[in-house]
């Protein structure tokens, strides 16, 4: 924010200056007038040195080559040597589909790195529909199918972080993400959450430690450039960030030139009437990298996720993928693609509704057991999405010690809150319980035992 003096000084200079100031001053309302983002700022040296594989480039070129062009540049095996003739998939609702002929051949053959082309197209349409993306979105952004959403997240962090970089993260944080960040020697700057997710004032306050927004936006080193969060049913707190708060956070990201890593695997696992409004859907400046997953809604074992975001950043992830996994399993992609085709939007939405109702029931069952056994001993908010109940035990200083020493003995295991903190030396009074898989009897038994464990400790 400029001081009044500076503003006057520039207003008297020339029109261009005035325009620049007005932009900075009202960062929240920047629209098409704003400067395009310099994505190099978000790409570390190692990632910048990744180069396209000449074989992949030639393969792409071949798709537009004149008919009669003979392609001896490929490195792929001959599909006729593969032993499969057919795969059949049956769904619980009676839908059946086959992969045979050309379809099974493709499902067994190497694919372009961004994904099995029919699936990429379906997912682009899906994203456009779900997040209300406009017609210009795909000019600036692209989508890549990843081996689970976490592989894309890992590659995004490895693309961007350098040693010593600060990174803003929601705390408590999913330990899979902190396990990526720590060995890179990046410093997590934890932003606290309330029951609605990260608190914008805490975010703003953390950022102002690094200087003014003009200063921070222009720097490449020693300032935070990434903000990592779960939008819906956060792991472990269960918080969903309300739309208004998302807008506040997004505006801060614009002001301080951040890229938002929107890690959203529980997006469809909410207990509301309508789907949440994502950061992606409000991304007027193309600064959101969004990670989606089929793991909680179709299959976790198939390892199919996808990342959507600015072309400059997704292409870096693509190059890393090219050199490592090459592409997500074509068979997995073909199955997901065929399933989406067979079902169409209506059946897919029905399926999501079924899942939502199912997990809501499981949540309510856990809440009932919590009321029964843990009232007075612990506190919790009602999760509005996701898989987890985040339980606070005010009478205990550190739940990790408690569960490590007493868990097996009392016959109950939950994840201690300490595992979700950015720093080793911190303590946590929380437990994460999951209501998704355990039976009602086990949940009840578990909480009864937890109550005993807590009482024994407090006594």
């Amino acid at each position: 924010m400029l001081s009044a003096n500076k503003l006057i000084h520039c207003l008297t200079k020339n029109n261009y200056c005035k325009l620049t100031i007005l932009r900075t001053f009202s960062a929240g309302s920047i629209d098409a007038m704003s400067q395009p983002i310099d994505y190099d700022r978000f790409i570390n040296d190692l990632s910048a040195r990744r180069k396209v594989s000449p074989i992949r480039e030639l393969t792409k070129l071949f798709t537009t080559a004149p008919p009669g062009t003979i392609f001896l540049a490929g490195g792929i095996p001959n599909g006729s040597t593969f032993p499969f003739s057919r795969m059949t998939v049956e769904l619980k609702d009676g839908t059946t589909f086959k992969l045979e002929g050309k379809k099974i051949e493709n499902a067994l053959q190497y694919q372009p790195t961004p994904g099995y082309p029919p699936l990429v197209e379906q997912l682009q349409k899906f994203q456009t529909q779900v997040h209300g993306l406009d017609s210009t979105f795909w000019q600036k952004n692209s989508l890549l199918v990843s081996t689970g959403s976490q592989d894309a997240l890992c590659k995004a962090l490895e693309m961007s972080l350098s040693e010593g970089d600060p990174i803003l993260v929601q705390e408590p944080i999913y330990p899979g993400t902190s396990a990526i960040i720590r060995p890179l020697n990046a410093n997590m700057v934890p932003i606290g959450q309330d029951e609605h997710g990260i608190v914008p004032s805490a975010l703003r306050s953390a950022l102002s430690n690094y200087g003014s927004s003009e200063k921070v936006s222009a720097m490449k080193k020693d300032v935070p450039k990434l903000l990592y969060l779960n939008s819906t049913g956060a792991n472990p707190t269960g918080a969903t960030i309300p739309t208004e708060r998302k807008k506040e956070i997004y505006d801060i990201a614009c002001e301080f030139n951040l890229v938002i890593l929107e890690d959203d695997p529980y997006y469809f696992l909410h207990f509301e009437e309508k789907d949440p409004v994502s950061f992606l859907s409000m991304d007027r400046e193309s600064r959101v990298l969004r990670f989606d997953s089929f793991s909680k809604i179709l299959s976790s074992g198939l390892r199919v996720g996808f990342v959507t975001g600015p072309k400059e950043l997704v292409s870096r992830i693509e190059l890393h993928t090219q050199a490592s996994t090459m592409h997500t399993s074509a068979l997995s992609q073909a199955i997901v693609s065929s399933l989406l085709d067979e079902w169409g939007s209506e059946k897919l939405l029905q399926h999501f509704k079924m899942i939502q109702q199912f997990y809501k029931g499981k949540r309510d069952c856990m809440l009932a057991s919590a009321d029964k056994h843990l009232k007075g001993l612990a506190e919790w908010s009602v999760p509005r999405a996701g898989m987890f109940l985040w339980i606070k035990v005010p009478g205990i200083a550190d739940t990790k010690k408690l569960i490590t020493e007493g868990g097996i003995e009392h016959g109950v295991i939950l994840v201690p809150g300490k595992d979700f903190l950015a720093y080793d030396d911190a303590q946590s009074q929380y437990f994460r319980a999951s209501y998704t898989v355990a039976s009602p009897e086990d949940i009840d038994k578990g909480f009864a035992r937890l109550a005993n464990l807590i009482k024994a400790e407090i006594a």
């Binding site: 071949f62 001959n78 067994l108 330990p175 720590r182 060995p183 976790s300 074992g301 399993s329």
Partner: protein
């Protein structure tokens, strides 16, 4: 053998024979700082915990929300397998990072059967999403900016993609008519170790694609493998044995692998089902020293989580159904397919390219590596004039340790394109070469 008194660098240490290799010396700081992913470790613990303990910590999706009721596959030989019930659950849900336990055990048996009975106390196996993911993760475990790595020229472009971002120096030994030039390799390593220059980095890794080297098609003989292994021991190199064409060598006997002669536990081997069951499956695995497998496992825990469950279930089923003899017969049929096509390709090369180019007959795999005569650099020929003649080939630059140097090589694939079209391509290539030779001679 171990004559070196000149230790001009502090690390890595030269080993005396039969002293266990310190695997941490091959790991960079990033690798050394990796810790297990707590939630993935929890999943492991759950599997072995007592039945009396109630786990209400894990965030797993409930099977009832998964829409699949049955997945089945049919093979060309008529074999059919249906995954349903608990077998479907294993095929469609999260797995431990190392892999489907039965599948991992099968892979250990495969290694014992085809390589040598291995000491599983010192080594382990991990299923990977394609063998290249394992390779990539070992590179990322080991390399630091500016590090040197020993390779054979020409070298697989996938390896180059992985090491280039580290500005790695590639120390290369050439493939020649009688195999890999091990004298060149030893001389270069000796010179490096004797050098007092700070700019000369001592390599820690030797990367090799020993059966049907991509792109040149060379197969390293068993005896030469022993020579190379000795060099690796002498200069304390970690051997990355990248062997996706292992079953596609055209000799009658399967080659002896580096892994099978690995008395010092310094070989990390990358295997793949891509060329025999399908590259789309992403079915690979890595075998190596326990500490190194553990680092790769920890990196996978926070990235892919594990290789596709369905892929693992399918491959396990096929291996169980075929048995080792059946599996071997099957791989032989695939080998025959490519051997036939190699013969056809070489016949066409003889017909159209004699006098215009040179090549060694590929001893395995799916590529012909051609050196164009009278043309110092094929880049323009392939990428501009070749495209105008409607033929697409790969210029050899993609496979050289120094891609900026002029290169007269081209890689031709004989795996896929119908032979009538290959013949047309050869005709066009012959014309291209003649035209190029004319251009070159006028310079």
């Amino acid at each position: 053998m171990r004559k070196f008194g000149l230790l001009s660098k502090a690390l890595p240490k030269l080993q005396t024979k039969n002293v266990p290799v310190e695997h941490t010396s091959f790991m960079n700081e990033l690798a050394l700082e990796r810790k297990p992913s707590i939630l993935r470790e929890l999943m492991k613990n759950h599997a072995t915990a007592s039945k009396n303990v109630v786990f209400i910590g894990e965030g797993l999706p409930h099977p009832e929300t998964i829409p699949f009721s049955e997945v089945s596959f049919t093979l060309k030989d008529g074999t059919k397998k249906v995954f349903t019930g608990s077998e479907l659950v294993t095929a469609i849900n999260y797995l431990p990072t190392q892999g489907n336990p039965k599948f991992v055990q099968k892979l250990r048996e495969l290694m014992d059967r085809f390589h040598a009975p291995l000491r599983w106390e010192d080594r382990d196996v991990i299923a990977t999403a394609g063998s290249q993911d394992g390779l990539s993760k070992v590179i990322e475990m080991s390399l630091q900016k500016g590090d040197a790595i020993v390779v054979a020229d020409p070298v697989y472009s996938g390896l180059v993609s992985n090491v280039r971002p580290y500005k790695a120096q590639l120390i290369s030994a050439q493939y020649r008519k009688n195999g890999l030039d091990t004298v060149e390799m030893k001389d270069k390593l000796t010179a490096i170790w004797s050098s007092r220059s700070k700019d000369v980095k001592i390599p820690k890794i030797l990367y090799i694609n020993p059966v049907a080297n991509n792109p040149s098609g060379h197969v390293i003989s068993d005896e030469q493998k022993r020579e190379i292994y000795e060099i690796a021991c002498e200069f304390n190199l970690l051997v990355l044995e990248d062997d996706p064409y292992y079953f596609l060598g055209f000799q009658d006997e399967l080659p002896k692998s580096f892994l099978s002669m690995d008395t010092e536990n310094r070989v990390v081997r990358f295997d793949s089902f891509s060329k025999i069951f399908g590259g789309g499956l992403r079915a690979g695995w890595m075998t190596g020293p326990k500490e190194i497998v553990r680092i790769v496992e920890m990196h996978m825990q926070v990235s892919v989580l594990h290789a596709s469950s369905l892929t693992q279930a399918i491959v396990l089923q096929i291996l169980e159904g075929q048995g080792w003899e059946g599996f071997l017969d099957y791989t032989k049929s695939v080998k025959e397919f490519y051997r036939k096509r190699r013969d056809q390709m070489v016949a066409l090369a003889d017909k159209y390219l004699t006098g215009l180019a040179e090549w060694d007959v590929p001893e395995g795999g799916m590529f012909l590596w051609v050196k164009v005569k009278g043309v110092s650099d094929v880049l323009a020929m392939v990428m501009e004039r070749g495209l105008k003649k409607d033929v697409m080939l790969i210029p050899g630059h993609a496979f050289m340790s120094d891609p900026t140097k002029p290169c007269p090589y081209i890689r031709l694939s004989y795996s896929l394109v119908p032979m009538e079209d290959v013949e047309k391509a050869m005709q066009r290539l012959a014309e291209l070469i003649k035209e190029e030779q004319a251009i070159e001679s006028q310079k």
